[in-house]
Symmetry: C2
Subunit: 244 residues, 2 copies
Protein backbone atom coordinates (compact mmCIF):
# COMPACT_ATOMS: atom_id res chain seq x y z
CA UNK A 1 0.00 0.00 0.00
CA UNK A 2 1.39 3.40 -0.94
CA UNK A 3 0.43 6.65 0.77
CA UNK A 4 -0.26 9.37 -1.83
CA UNK A 5 -0.21 13.05 -0.90
CA UNK A 6 -2.20 15.53 -2.96
CA UNK A 7 -2.04 19.33 -3.03
CA UNK A 8 -5.45 20.56 -4.11
CA UNK A 9 -6.73 23.90 -5.40
CA UNK A 10 -10.45 24.56 -5.49
CA UNK A 11 -13.04 27.22 -6.07
CA UNK A 12 -15.35 26.51 -3.14
CA UNK A 13 -18.33 28.42 -4.58
CA UNK A 14 -20.33 25.39 -5.73
CA UNK A 15 -19.55 23.05 -2.83
CA UNK A 16 -20.68 22.49 0.73
CA UNK A 17 -17.13 22.60 1.99
CA UNK A 18 -14.37 20.00 2.07
CA UNK A 19 -15.94 17.43 4.38
CA UNK A 20 -18.38 14.79 3.12
CA UNK A 21 -21.97 15.53 4.07
CA UNK A 22 -25.34 13.92 3.61
CA UNK A 23 -27.43 15.53 0.84
CA UNK A 24 -24.76 18.03 -0.23
CA UNK A 25 -21.79 17.83 -2.57
CA UNK A 26 -18.47 18.18 -0.75
CA UNK A 27 -15.06 18.57 -2.38
CA UNK A 28 -13.79 15.47 -0.56
CA UNK A 29 -16.52 13.36 -2.24
CA UNK A 30 -15.71 14.67 -5.69
CA UNK A 31 -11.99 13.88 -5.31
CA UNK A 32 -12.75 10.44 -3.80
CA UNK A 33 -15.06 9.69 -6.72
CA UNK A 34 -12.32 10.66 -9.19
CA UNK A 35 -9.84 8.36 -7.37
CA UNK A 36 -12.41 5.57 -7.56
CA UNK A 37 -12.87 6.08 -11.30
CA UNK A 38 -9.10 6.04 -11.77
CA UNK A 39 -8.07 3.14 -9.51
CA UNK A 40 -11.31 1.29 -8.81
CA UNK A 41 -10.68 1.73 -5.10
CA UNK A 42 -13.03 3.36 -2.56
CA UNK A 43 -10.34 5.15 -0.55
CA UNK A 44 -10.41 7.17 2.64
CA UNK A 45 -9.22 10.65 1.73
CA UNK A 46 -7.86 12.60 4.71
CA UNK A 47 -7.75 16.37 4.32
CA UNK A 48 -5.62 18.74 6.43
CA UNK A 49 -8.51 21.17 7.00
CA UNK A 50 -12.29 20.98 6.92
CA UNK A 51 -12.87 24.15 4.94
CA UNK A 52 -16.45 25.46 5.17
CA UNK A 53 -18.92 25.90 2.32
CA UNK A 54 -17.78 28.70 0.00
CA UNK A 55 -14.17 28.73 1.30
CA UNK A 56 -11.46 28.34 -1.36
CA UNK A 57 -8.07 26.66 -1.38
CA UNK A 58 -4.83 27.00 -3.30
CA UNK A 59 -3.11 24.41 -1.16
CA UNK A 60 -5.46 22.03 0.64
CA UNK A 61 -3.47 18.89 1.36
CA UNK A 62 -4.89 15.40 1.51
CA UNK A 63 -3.64 11.80 1.50
CA UNK A 64 -4.96 8.34 0.71
CA UNK A 65 -3.67 4.75 0.54
CA UNK A 66 -3.71 2.85 -2.71
CA UNK A 67 -2.76 -0.53 -4.21
CA UNK A 68 -2.69 1.05 -7.66
CA UNK A 69 0.51 0.88 -9.75
CA UNK A 70 0.12 4.42 -11.11
CA UNK A 71 3.34 6.42 -10.44
CA UNK A 72 2.70 8.88 -7.61
CA UNK A 73 3.47 12.00 -9.65
CA UNK A 74 1.08 10.89 -12.42
CA UNK A 75 -1.97 10.97 -10.16
CA UNK A 76 -2.33 14.74 -10.54
CA UNK A 77 -2.68 14.73 -14.31
CA UNK A 78 -4.84 11.59 -14.35
CA UNK A 79 -7.20 12.94 -11.69
CA UNK A 80 -7.36 16.37 -13.34
CA UNK A 81 -8.66 14.73 -16.52
CA UNK A 82 -11.62 13.41 -14.48
CA UNK A 83 -12.21 16.27 -12.03
CA UNK A 84 -14.48 19.26 -12.78
CA UNK A 85 -12.81 22.56 -13.70
CA UNK A 86 -13.22 24.05 -10.22
CA UNK A 87 -11.07 21.39 -8.51
CA UNK A 88 -7.43 20.89 -9.55
CA UNK A 89 -4.74 18.59 -8.15
CA UNK A 90 -1.66 20.81 -8.26
CA UNK A 91 0.77 18.15 -7.18
CA UNK A 92 0.82 14.46 -6.24
CA UNK A 93 3.69 12.59 -4.62
CA UNK A 94 4.37 9.57 -2.47
CA UNK A 95 4.52 10.16 1.27
CA UNK A 96 5.83 7.88 4.02
CA UNK A 97 3.41 5.27 5.39
CA UNK A 98 2.86 7.23 8.60
CA UNK A 99 2.12 10.59 6.93
CA UNK A 100 -1.30 11.93 7.97
CA UNK A 101 -2.26 15.20 6.30
CA UNK A 102 -4.08 16.51 9.39
CA UNK A 103 -2.00 15.26 12.31
CA UNK A 104 1.35 15.89 10.63
CA UNK A 105 0.56 19.52 9.78
CA UNK A 106 3.09 21.86 11.47
CA UNK A 107 1.50 25.06 10.27
CA UNK A 108 -0.87 26.71 7.83
CA UNK A 109 -1.09 29.87 5.80
CA UNK A 110 -4.44 31.47 5.03
CA UNK A 111 -5.43 34.52 3.01
CA UNK A 112 -8.55 36.59 3.56
CA UNK A 113 -9.68 38.99 0.83
CA UNK A 114 -11.82 42.07 1.39
CA UNK A 115 -13.23 44.01 -1.55
CA UNK A 116 -13.38 47.57 -0.25
CA UNK A 117 -15.46 49.69 -2.61
CA UNK A 118 -18.85 51.45 -2.47
CA UNK A 119 -20.25 49.14 -5.16
CA UNK A 120 -20.07 45.36 -5.08
CA UNK A 121 -17.78 43.61 -7.56
CA UNK A 122 -18.88 41.42 -10.46
CA UNK A 123 -15.50 39.72 -10.79
CA UNK A 124 -14.85 39.21 -7.07
CA UNK A 125 -18.43 38.29 -6.17
CA UNK A 126 -17.65 34.82 -4.83
CA UNK A 127 -14.02 35.56 -4.03
CA UNK A 128 -14.06 38.31 -1.41
CA UNK A 129 -15.98 39.96 1.44
CA UNK A 130 -17.55 43.15 0.11
CA UNK A 131 -17.18 46.05 2.57
CA UNK A 132 -18.64 49.31 1.18
CA UNK A 133 -17.40 51.63 4.01
CA UNK A 134 -13.88 52.94 3.53
CA UNK A 135 -11.47 50.98 5.74
CA UNK A 136 -8.46 52.59 7.42
CA UNK A 137 -5.49 50.44 6.43
CA UNK A 138 -3.16 51.95 9.02
CA UNK A 139 -5.48 51.00 11.90
CA UNK A 140 -5.95 47.50 10.46
CA UNK A 141 -2.20 47.00 10.12
CA UNK A 142 -1.67 47.98 13.75
CA UNK A 143 -4.46 45.61 14.81
CA UNK A 144 -3.01 42.72 12.77
CA UNK A 145 0.32 43.07 14.59
CA UNK A 146 -1.36 42.30 17.92
CA UNK A 147 -2.24 38.77 16.80
CA UNK A 148 1.39 37.76 16.28
CA UNK A 149 2.81 35.55 19.03
CA UNK A 150 1.64 32.70 21.25
CA UNK A 151 -1.83 33.41 22.61
CA UNK A 152 -4.93 31.74 23.91
CA UNK A 153 -7.33 32.38 21.02
CA UNK A 154 -10.55 31.24 22.66
CA UNK A 155 -12.11 34.66 21.93
CA UNK A 156 -11.49 33.95 18.22
CA UNK A 157 -13.14 30.60 17.69
CA UNK A 158 -16.66 29.51 16.85
CA UNK A 159 -18.57 28.71 20.03
CA UNK A 160 -19.44 25.17 18.94
CA UNK A 161 -15.85 24.03 18.52
CA UNK A 162 -14.19 21.64 20.93
CA UNK A 163 -10.43 21.15 21.03
CA UNK A 164 -7.97 20.19 23.77
CA UNK A 165 -6.15 23.51 23.72
CA UNK A 166 -6.96 26.95 22.38
CA UNK A 167 -3.35 28.14 22.46
CA UNK A 168 -1.92 28.87 19.02
CA UNK A 169 1.17 30.66 17.75
CA UNK A 170 0.77 33.18 14.92
CA UNK A 171 4.06 33.83 13.14
CA UNK A 172 2.90 36.17 10.39
CA UNK A 173 -0.08 38.53 10.01
CA UNK A 174 0.13 41.23 7.39
CA UNK A 175 -2.04 43.26 5.08
CA UNK A 176 -1.53 44.38 1.48
CA UNK A 177 -3.80 46.77 -0.40
CA UNK A 178 -3.97 47.07 -4.13
CA UNK A 179 -6.75 48.96 -5.89
CA UNK A 180 -9.96 47.89 -4.09
CA UNK A 181 -8.50 44.61 -2.81
CA UNK A 182 -7.28 44.26 0.78
CA UNK A 183 -5.43 41.02 1.29
CA UNK A 184 -4.76 39.72 4.78
CA UNK A 185 -2.15 36.96 5.01
CA UNK A 186 -1.85 35.00 8.22
CA UNK A 187 0.39 32.09 9.14
CA UNK A 188 0.63 30.04 12.31
CA UNK A 189 1.09 26.60 13.81
CA UNK A 190 -2.64 25.96 13.71
CA UNK A 191 -6.04 27.66 13.69
CA UNK A 192 -9.22 27.10 15.70
CA UNK A 193 -12.56 26.66 13.98
CA UNK A 194 -13.47 29.94 12.19
CA UNK A 195 -10.44 31.65 13.74
CA UNK A 196 -9.21 33.32 10.54
CA UNK A 197 -12.72 34.51 9.68
CA UNK A 198 -13.24 35.96 13.19
CA UNK A 199 -9.83 37.68 13.15
CA UNK A 200 -10.63 39.05 9.66
CA UNK A 201 -14.05 40.26 10.79
CA UNK A 202 -12.42 41.96 13.78
CA UNK A 203 -9.83 43.66 11.53
CA UNK A 204 -12.66 44.99 9.35
CA UNK A 205 -14.36 46.44 12.44
CA UNK A 206 -11.06 48.09 13.40
CA UNK A 207 -10.83 49.53 9.87
CA UNK A 208 -14.36 50.95 10.28
CA UNK A 209 -13.42 52.53 13.60
CA UNK A 210 -15.85 50.34 15.58
CA UNK A 211 -13.09 48.54 17.50
CA UNK A 212 -9.85 50.18 18.69
CA UNK A 213 -6.68 48.42 17.56
CA UNK A 214 -5.30 48.94 21.06
CA UNK A 215 -8.21 46.89 22.45
CA UNK A 216 -7.09 43.74 20.62
CA UNK A 217 -4.67 42.50 23.33
CA UNK A 218 -7.45 42.87 25.92
CA UNK A 219 -9.95 41.04 23.71
CA UNK A 220 -7.47 38.18 23.25
CA UNK A 221 -6.80 38.06 26.99
CA UNK A 222 -10.51 38.10 27.88
CA UNK A 223 -11.14 34.86 26.01
CA UNK A 224 -14.63 36.23 25.38
CA UNK A 225 -15.97 35.48 21.89
CA UNK A 226 -18.54 38.28 22.24
CA UNK A 227 -15.82 40.93 22.46
CA UNK A 228 -14.23 39.96 19.12
CA UNK A 229 -15.73 41.04 15.79
CA UNK A 230 -18.27 39.23 13.66
CA UNK A 231 -17.23 36.19 11.64
CA UNK A 232 -16.31 37.39 8.15
CA UNK A 233 -18.10 35.47 5.35
CA UNK A 234 -16.58 32.30 3.87
CA UNK A 235 -16.07 33.47 0.27
CA UNK A 236 -13.15 35.73 1.28
CA UNK A 237 -11.13 32.88 2.79
CA UNK A 238 -8.38 30.90 1.04
CA UNK A 239 -6.34 28.03 2.50
CA UNK A 240 -2.99 28.87 0.89
CA UNK A 241 -0.51 26.28 2.14
CA UNK A 242 -0.09 23.56 4.74
CA UNK A 243 3.40 23.12 6.20
CA UNK A 244 4.80 19.74 7.25
CA UNK B 1 -33.15 64.47 -22.46
CA UNK B 2 -30.21 63.79 -20.20
CA UNK B 3 -27.13 61.85 -21.24
CA UNK B 4 -26.17 59.31 -18.56
CA UNK B 5 -22.67 57.84 -18.43
CA UNK B 6 -22.15 54.44 -16.79
CA UNK B 7 -18.94 52.75 -15.69
CA UNK B 8 -19.54 49.02 -15.82
CA UNK B 9 -17.72 46.02 -14.36
CA UNK B 10 -18.51 42.55 -15.64
CA UNK B 11 -17.44 38.96 -15.51
CA UNK B 12 -17.64 38.11 -19.21
CA UNK B 13 -17.68 34.32 -18.69
CA UNK B 14 -21.40 33.78 -19.30
CA UNK B 15 -21.89 36.31 -22.09
CA UNK B 16 -21.30 36.53 -25.82
CA UNK B 17 -19.43 39.77 -25.45
CA UNK B 18 -20.61 43.35 -25.04
CA UNK B 19 -22.36 43.86 -28.37
CA UNK B 20 -25.97 42.73 -28.95
CA UNK B 21 -26.22 39.61 -31.05
CA UNK B 22 -28.95 37.43 -32.46
CA UNK B 23 -29.47 34.19 -30.48
CA UNK B 24 -26.88 34.97 -27.80
CA UNK B 25 -26.97 36.98 -24.59
CA UNK B 26 -24.74 40.06 -24.74
CA UNK B 27 -23.88 42.32 -21.80
CA UNK B 28 -25.30 45.33 -23.67
CA UNK B 29 -28.71 43.62 -23.87
CA UNK B 30 -28.76 42.80 -20.17
CA UNK B 31 -27.94 46.39 -19.19
CA UNK B 32 -30.49 47.80 -21.71
CA UNK B 33 -33.13 45.48 -20.31
CA UNK B 34 -32.36 46.68 -16.76
CA UNK B 35 -32.67 50.33 -17.92
CA UNK B 36 -36.00 49.46 -19.53
CA UNK B 37 -37.29 47.88 -16.32
CA UNK B 38 -36.17 50.94 -14.38
CA UNK B 39 -37.30 53.77 -16.67
CA UNK B 40 -39.73 52.13 -19.08
CA UNK B 41 -37.58 53.38 -21.97
CA UNK B 42 -36.02 51.28 -24.73
CA UNK B 43 -32.73 53.19 -24.92
CA UNK B 44 -29.73 52.98 -27.22
CA UNK B 45 -26.77 52.08 -25.03
CA UNK B 46 -23.43 53.05 -26.57
CA UNK B 47 -20.37 51.23 -25.23
CA UNK B 48 -16.78 52.41 -25.57
CA UNK B 49 -15.51 48.98 -26.65
CA UNK B 50 -17.03 45.88 -28.17
CA UNK B 51 -15.41 43.36 -25.87
CA UNK B 52 -15.46 39.79 -27.20
CA UNK B 53 -17.17 36.77 -25.61
CA UNK B 54 -15.37 35.82 -22.39
CA UNK B 55 -13.52 39.16 -22.04
CA UNK B 56 -14.00 40.95 -18.69
CA UNK B 57 -14.23 44.60 -17.72
CA UNK B 58 -13.58 46.67 -14.64
CA UNK B 59 -14.26 49.91 -16.46
CA UNK B 60 -16.34 49.51 -19.60
CA UNK B 61 -17.97 52.87 -20.22
CA UNK B 62 -21.36 53.39 -21.85
CA UNK B 63 -23.93 56.15 -22.24
CA UNK B 64 -27.64 56.50 -22.98
CA UNK B 65 -30.25 59.26 -23.23
CA UNK B 66 -33.22 59.31 -20.90
CA UNK B 67 -36.32 61.35 -20.07
CA UNK B 68 -36.40 59.79 -16.61
CA UNK B 69 -36.28 62.02 -13.53
CA UNK B 70 -34.01 59.64 -11.57
CA UNK B 71 -30.93 61.58 -10.32
CA UNK B 72 -27.91 60.59 -12.44
CA UNK B 73 -25.88 59.22 -9.53
CA UNK B 74 -28.80 57.04 -8.37
CA UNK B 75 -28.86 55.00 -11.58
CA UNK B 76 -25.98 52.80 -10.42
CA UNK B 77 -27.68 51.56 -7.27
CA UNK B 78 -31.08 51.23 -8.94
CA UNK B 79 -29.69 49.26 -11.89
CA UNK B 80 -27.56 47.07 -9.62
CA UNK B 81 -30.69 45.95 -7.79
CA UNK B 82 -32.01 44.62 -11.13
CA UNK B 83 -28.81 43.37 -12.79
CA UNK B 84 -27.41 39.85 -12.29
CA UNK B 85 -24.43 39.43 -9.95
CA UNK B 86 -21.89 39.25 -12.78
CA UNK B 87 -22.65 42.78 -14.07
CA UNK B 88 -22.22 45.82 -11.80
CA UNK B 89 -22.63 49.53 -12.52
CA UNK B 90 -19.71 51.03 -10.59
CA UNK B 91 -20.65 54.62 -11.23
CA UNK B 92 -23.33 56.66 -12.97
CA UNK B 93 -23.22 60.38 -13.68
CA UNK B 94 -24.62 62.97 -16.06
CA UNK B 95 -22.52 63.74 -19.13
CA UNK B 96 -22.83 66.62 -21.57
CA UNK B 97 -25.32 66.19 -24.45
CA UNK B 98 -22.54 65.61 -26.97
CA UNK B 99 -20.68 62.96 -24.95
CA UNK B 100 -20.32 59.69 -26.90
CA UNK B 101 -18.60 56.91 -24.98
CA UNK B 102 -16.89 55.52 -28.09
CA UNK B 103 -15.97 58.60 -30.14
CA UNK B 104 -14.97 60.71 -27.12
CA UNK B 105 -12.54 58.10 -25.77
CA UNK B 106 -9.00 59.52 -25.62
CA UNK B 107 -7.37 56.36 -24.37
CA UNK B 108 -7.82 52.96 -22.81
CA UNK B 109 -6.09 50.75 -20.30
CA UNK B 110 -6.23 46.98 -20.60
CA UNK B 111 -4.86 44.18 -18.46
CA UNK B 112 -4.00 40.70 -19.68
CA UNK B 113 -3.52 37.91 -17.14
CA UNK B 114 -1.45 34.77 -17.72
CA UNK B 115 -1.54 31.93 -15.22
CA UNK B 116 1.93 30.41 -15.50
CA UNK B 117 2.00 27.06 -13.76
CA UNK B 118 2.34 23.40 -14.81
CA UNK B 119 -1.21 22.64 -13.67
CA UNK B 120 -4.29 24.63 -14.63
CA UNK B 121 -5.98 26.76 -11.97
CA UNK B 122 -9.40 26.14 -10.43
CA UNK B 123 -9.77 29.71 -9.19
CA UNK B 124 -8.43 31.45 -12.31
CA UNK B 125 -10.09 29.10 -14.81
CA UNK B 126 -12.17 31.77 -16.56
CA UNK B 127 -9.94 34.66 -15.58
CA UNK B 128 -6.55 33.97 -17.15
CA UNK B 129 -4.66 32.30 -20.02
CA UNK B 130 -3.09 29.12 -18.68
CA UNK B 131 0.49 28.67 -19.92
CA UNK B 132 2.14 25.53 -18.48
CA UNK B 133 5.68 26.18 -19.81
CA UNK B 134 7.83 28.40 -17.61
CA UNK B 135 7.95 31.92 -19.05
CA UNK B 136 11.05 34.11 -18.87
CA UNK B 137 9.89 37.38 -17.34
CA UNK B 138 13.04 39.27 -18.26
CA UNK B 139 12.62 38.51 -21.96
CA UNK B 140 8.93 39.41 -21.82
CA UNK B 141 9.68 42.73 -20.11
CA UNK B 142 12.20 43.62 -22.81
CA UNK B 143 9.67 42.69 -25.49
CA UNK B 144 6.90 44.76 -23.86
CA UNK B 145 9.11 47.86 -24.01
CA UNK B 146 9.27 47.66 -27.83
CA UNK B 147 5.52 48.32 -28.10
CA UNK B 148 5.74 51.72 -26.42
CA UNK B 149 5.52 54.68 -28.80
CA UNK B 150 3.64 55.61 -31.97
CA UNK B 151 3.59 52.69 -34.39
CA UNK B 152 1.63 51.22 -37.23
CA UNK B 153 0.12 48.16 -35.53
CA UNK B 154 -1.29 46.41 -38.58
CA UNK B 155 0.73 43.28 -37.70
CA UNK B 156 -1.18 43.19 -34.41
CA UNK B 157 -4.80 43.27 -35.47
CA UNK B 158 -7.31 40.62 -36.44
CA UNK B 159 -7.33 40.19 -40.21
CA UNK B 160 -11.07 40.87 -40.55
CA UNK B 161 -10.90 44.33 -39.01
CA UNK B 162 -11.36 47.49 -41.04
CA UNK B 163 -10.38 50.90 -39.71
CA UNK B 164 -9.19 54.12 -41.35
CA UNK B 165 -5.78 54.07 -39.72
CA UNK B 166 -3.74 51.40 -37.97
CA UNK B 167 -1.44 53.88 -36.25
CA UNK B 168 -1.75 53.88 -32.47
CA UNK B 169 0.32 55.30 -29.63
CA UNK B 170 1.12 53.05 -26.66
CA UNK B 171 2.09 55.04 -23.59
CA UNK B 172 2.50 52.25 -21.06
CA UNK B 173 3.28 48.52 -21.35
CA UNK B 174 4.53 46.75 -18.27
CA UNK B 175 4.53 43.36 -16.61
CA UNK B 176 4.14 42.36 -12.97
CA UNK B 177 4.57 38.83 -11.65
CA UNK B 178 3.21 37.58 -8.36
CA UNK B 179 3.11 33.90 -7.48
CA UNK B 180 1.81 32.17 -10.65
CA UNK B 181 0.11 35.28 -12.02
CA UNK B 182 1.72 37.39 -14.74
CA UNK B 183 -0.14 40.63 -15.28
CA UNK B 184 0.46 42.71 -18.39
CA UNK B 185 -0.85 46.27 -18.22
CA UNK B 186 -1.06 48.28 -21.42
CA UNK B 187 -2.32 51.77 -22.05
CA UNK B 188 -2.65 53.75 -25.23
CA UNK B 189 -4.76 56.18 -27.25
CA UNK B 190 -6.64 53.30 -28.88
CA UNK B 191 -6.42 49.65 -29.81
CA UNK B 192 -7.18 47.77 -33.02
CA UNK B 193 -9.44 44.72 -32.99
CA UNK B 194 -7.75 41.93 -30.96
CA UNK B 195 -4.60 44.07 -30.63
CA UNK B 196 -4.10 43.48 -26.89
CA UNK B 197 -4.68 39.74 -27.28
CA UNK B 198 -2.20 39.49 -30.19
CA UNK B 199 0.43 41.53 -28.30
CA UNK B 200 -0.15 39.33 -25.23
CA UNK B 201 0.12 36.16 -27.31
CA UNK B 202 3.37 37.47 -28.81
CA UNK B 203 4.78 38.27 -25.35
CA UNK B 204 4.00 34.70 -24.25
CA UNK B 205 5.90 33.36 -27.27
CA UNK B 206 8.84 35.59 -26.33
CA UNK B 207 8.66 34.21 -22.79
CA UNK B 208 8.79 30.67 -24.21
CA UNK B 209 11.81 31.54 -26.33
CA UNK B 210 9.94 31.03 -29.62
CA UNK B 211 10.20 34.70 -30.64
CA UNK B 212 13.21 36.94 -29.92
CA UNK B 213 12.39 40.16 -28.08
CA UNK B 214 14.75 41.96 -30.43
CA UNK B 215 12.59 40.85 -33.38
CA UNK B 216 9.56 42.83 -32.12
CA UNK B 217 10.52 46.14 -33.83
CA UNK B 218 10.92 44.28 -37.14
CA UNK B 219 7.58 42.49 -36.70
CA UNK B 220 5.85 45.83 -36.03
CA UNK B 221 7.55 47.39 -39.06
CA UNK B 222 6.64 44.48 -41.34
CA UNK B 223 2.91 45.04 -40.83
CA UNK B 224 2.58 41.27 -41.34
CA UNK B 225 0.04 39.64 -39.02
CA UNK B 226 1.62 36.20 -39.65
CA UNK B 227 4.89 37.30 -38.06
CA UNK B 228 3.25 38.26 -34.75
CA UNK B 229 2.25 35.64 -32.18
CA UNK B 230 -1.03 33.83 -31.81
CA UNK B 231 -4.05 35.64 -30.41
CA UNK B 232 -4.16 34.96 -26.66
CA UNK B 233 -7.56 33.66 -25.46
CA UNK B 234 -10.32 36.07 -24.36
CA UNK B 235 -10.64 35.03 -20.70
CA UNK B 236 -7.29 36.66 -19.80
CA UNK B 237 -8.35 40.11 -21.03
CA UNK B 238 -9.77 42.92 -18.87
CA UNK B 239 -10.85 46.38 -20.04
CA UNK B 240 -9.66 48.38 -17.04
CA UNK B 241 -10.42 52.01 -17.80
CA UNK B 242 -11.48 54.34 -20.60
CA UNK B 243 -10.01 57.84 -20.55
CA UNK B 244 -11.90 60.93 -21.77
Amino acid sequence: MRNIKLIIEYDGTSYHGWQSQINAVAIQDVVKEAIKRLTGEAVDLTGSSRTDAGVHAYGQTANFFTESAIPADKFSRALNSILPEDIVIRESCEASRDFHSRYAAKGKRYRYIVYNSPSRSALMRNRAFHVPQRLDMELMEKAAGHFIGKHNFSAFRASDSSVTTTIRTITHACLIKREEIIEFNIEGDGFLYNMVRIISGTLVEVGMGRVLHSDIPGIIESGDRRRAGRTAPPQGLYLMKVFY
